[in-house]
Symmetry: C2
Subunit: 184 residues, 2 copies
């Protein structure tokens, strides 16, 4: 046991939903004392920085009930049980935008909220986009608008808090870094 | 009501914890149908990209029970009730690292998991760090190790998945972008 580790004494599942589960855990701290941890388990997700041949970023605008507002994000979605992240990325890209991609490459994977949740997001970059005529449908409770933004427009959206979430801010900053590196 | 908006029909609080609360909501979708939303409410948080006079990034290593592992992150912490984010950033920086900062500037605020949570993280950059002799203590259930990393070491930590969370990946990429811009 590492010097910083917390040992689980007791774990109780308080809620099991369609998306998340809630656990309340009693842990033993490194100094022998006890504490409670509130933990959300999540199946994990993918997000796709999809770049068109005109070097625009494909964005989806959707209402987020947790925020009670509409925000603009890169396409994303939850992993189905047993689904490979890359397969999930291709599926979500097609469902949300109607695009198939020629190339797909993992940029980064990160935990979104390590203080209380095990949600991980795998962020891919997709190029060689081709619009499918009969693309897979959205989930029946999903309603989204599509936008294709230049890098400059995306940076403006971040300033205006229309783009307002970690994965999309990361993806836009990644594009910015690549453009600056390419111009050096 | 916007074309994408979901209207709350019913909201039930299923859990109220020390950190998070869980709500189950019935919503009316834009097409008139109904759906359920699982929502985690969180008080919000700050994170601090603290740069030493030697241009190193101050990192904290801590065990995250939600992940059941130790990761390396920029200092961060939850907002107390009514606390201003900038005041929270100064407090958390001192509690977790023993550093006071000369300058503190907001880099970005973003939602970590808009699909299920309203958690927002305000990321600050702090410079002019001075070690305090008698710094404020850690919370009684917090155990952390300090590290000061060069940008190259931090990038290596991301590749090695020792750095593995959204706010820290964002902060390191921000540093990288600034260094490339400065060298142009």
């Amino acid at each position: 046991m590492s010097r910083l580790e917390e040992k689980t004494i007791r774990s109780e599942k308080l809620f099991s939903g369609k998306v998340i589960s809630l656990y309340l855990e009693d842990v033993e701290l490194p100094n022998g004392k006890e504490a409670k941890r509130e933990i959300i388990k999540h199946p994990g997700a993918v997000a796709i920085l999809a770049i068109t041949d005109e070097n625009k970023i494909v964005m989806v605008e959707q209402f987020r009930k947790a925020l009670d507002r509409t925000i603009v994000e890169i396409p994303a979605g939850k992993l189905e049980k047993g689904e490979e992240p890359a397969a999930c990325a291709r599926r979500e890209l097609e469902e949300e935008t109607g695009y198939e991609c020629g190339s797909l490459e993992l940029l980064n994977s990160f935990y979104t909220s390590p203080g209380f949740s095990d949600e991980i997001v795998h962020v891919y970059i997709a190029r060689g986009l081709v619009k499918k005529e009969n693309s897979a449908p959205l989930d029946e409770d999903e309603f989204i608008d599509l936008e294709e933004l230049t890098l400059e427009e995306a940076i403006r959206y971040i300033k205006d808090q229309k783009i307002f979430d970690a994965k999309t801010v990361f993806a836009v900053q990644y594009m910015q870094l690549q453009e600056v590196l390419a111009k050096k």
